[in-house]
């Protein structure tokens, strides 16, 4: 059963087409990733799916409700953790959670129970009565995740859930996202521009660039589309052609190129075939001076598909300034 069905979703802002005729479906219980650089259209897509933005054209169904005609139904069944903080800094962690639960009409006893359970899971029980203003970035993030879950949504949207967090906190949040998906069978849609995050967490990934889906598959299949692993051999002077000639006949060699003192190969089953390379080179009488095996990462897939590396977050200074202003004005 598909819990999300997107067809021809498009959003244009004046000249810019942020999301361009995207269609895809997500199965119930899936942990689905939207991977792409900043500005690829991930957040715009999430905003449309969570009824915050109206699509220019196209439509989508979330949990069986149409985002345009039955936005109330969608809102009752989703939770979202936004990319930018959306907590009320002037309230305590507990108040933020309480108010959220009340918006969903969760009764008082039930509310208390769920809040305590969630605070425990995200490790904020002892900070519940502190103003959110004094929380660290990681604590805010965890509180927001807890908030997105109080009403037990069928679909949880996580927009860059670990953006700007330290490695340790990130790992914790990853584990928690997995637990959620396994134990509560919550369908999770996660956007990220971190390759390792998508690789580690997601069952399927849609690679998004310039508002389009460039590829959609499991992380393993995406990596397989590069057809092998890269081996770079350093060879002794004048031996490059010798080796190339000997290796090009092998069935596991997908591609081979030689240049001054180096031979680059794309081969399948790198670990098993590297000793084979040495054996063949030896019997051809060619000396190898160095070897380097590079297994394809999602990053390579991304470069292969979009022609450019993923762009790292720019404008950190701007977001820091905004954060400062936020603190001052919410007081």
């Amino acid at each position: 059963m598909n819990i999300i069905e997107i067809s021809g979703l498009t959003k244009r802002f004046d000249e810019l087409t942020a999301v361009d005729n995207v269609s895809l479906s997500v199965e119930k219980g899936e942990l689905f990733g939207l991977l792409g650089p900043n500005g690829a259209g991930k957040t715009t897509m999430i905003n449309m799916l969570t009824t915050l933005l109206k699509p220019t054209s196209g439509t989508a169904e979330v949990a069986g409700y149409n985002i345009g005609t039955d936005s109330g139904g969608v809102r009752r069944n989703i939770g979202i953790v936004f990319q930018d903080p959306s907590l009320d800094l002037g309230l305590t962690g507990m108040e933020n959670l309480e108010f959220h639960a009340m918006m969903y009409n969760i009764g008082s006893a039930e509310r208390k129970e769920r809040i305590h359970e969630l605070l425990d899971i995200v490790g904020l029980s002892d900070k519940a009565d502190t103003l959110v203003e004094y929380y660290s970035g990681g604590m805010k993030r965890r509180l927001e995740i807890a908030r997105g879950l109080i009403h037990r949504p069928e679909v949880l949207f996580l927009d860059e859930p670990t953006l700007g967090l330290d490695a340790q906190t990130r790992r914790k949040i990853w584990d928690y996202i997995r637990t959620l998906n396994d134990e509560y069978s919550t369908t999770i849609i996660l956007t990220t521009h971190y390759m390792e995050e998508a690789d580690y967490l997601c069952e399927r990934i849609a690679i998004i660039d310039n508002g389009n889906i460039a590829a959609l598959d499991t992380p393993a299949n995406l990596k397989n589309c590069l057809k092998g692993e890269n081996v770079r051999l350093g060879v002794e002077d004048g031996h490059a052609d010798l080796i190339t000639e000997a290796l090009v006949k092998m069935p596991w060699v997908v591609d081979i190129e030689s240049e001054d003192g180096f031979v680059s190969l794309t081969i399948t089953d790198g670990e098993e075939n590297i000793p084979e390379i040495f054996r063949i080179a030896h019997s051809a009488g060619a000396g190898i001076s160095s070897v380097n095996l590079h297994k394809p990462s999602l990053e390579d897939v991304f470069i292969h598909l979009t022609g450019s590396s993923i762009r790292e977050e720019k404008g950190d200074r701007r977001s820091a300034r905004r954060e400062n202003r936020r603190r001052r004005m919410m007081r």
Binding site: L52, L53, F82, L91, F99, M102, N105, R326, M330, R331
Partner: protein, 254 residues
Amino acid sequence: MIQFSAVYVLWMREMIKYVRAKSRVVGAVAMPAFMLTFLGLGFRRVEVPGLPGSIGYFQYLVPGIIGMTLLFTSSYSGMSVIMDRQFGFLKEVMVTPASRESIVLGMIAGGATTSIIQALLMMLLSVFIGFRLPAVHLILASMAVMFLITVIFISVGLILSSVMKDFHGFNTIINFIVFPLFLLSGALFPVANLPPVIQVFSYLDPLTYGVDALRGILIGLSEFSVAFDLSILVTVSVGMVVISSYFFRRSEAV
């Protein structure tokens, strides 16, 4: 459809933040308090045309300054939605199943309560400078008028916040909308003393009827009958709630 839990949440949020933000309470009362003190005492002996001798300028000024307090605090609280949008909290409210009408009502309820508290503080303060407090039932009646005034100007604030996306235009709004509304309303002097051309604008300003009603109730002097003032205030406030809900529904949270 109105969900009372959502209205309650937004009202409660405003109350908690109001209690915590002591500087906001002081800041919002300071300006009208200075106006009242210095204008009230400075012009104490001036004979303002159109005022009966039995009522001094200070008595006349207090309801006007109460109206000013209501105007500024309520339009500011309506505009604070800009802040909620800028800081992301609005998104959080908008993805919940609460209907847009409940959200607007919740904001109005919160803003109205804090504005009325501010106005009552102002009234209390004026007693120390020499305002003769009327009977309790009249004070209660004046609170109904206060409520209508706040509903109107919170709605104005909400409309402005759906049009403005950030705080850059804030001072412009204060200078070109809020201040003129205050000066036209007859809070400081009888509207009848203004040139006829300007009087037209005064009678288009809903605060004129608000201040007039407050005067009628608190000091027993008004240009129109209180019933007439009330009918105008009720009509305008209902209309403004409808318009602001429409604007709020149309504006996007992100």
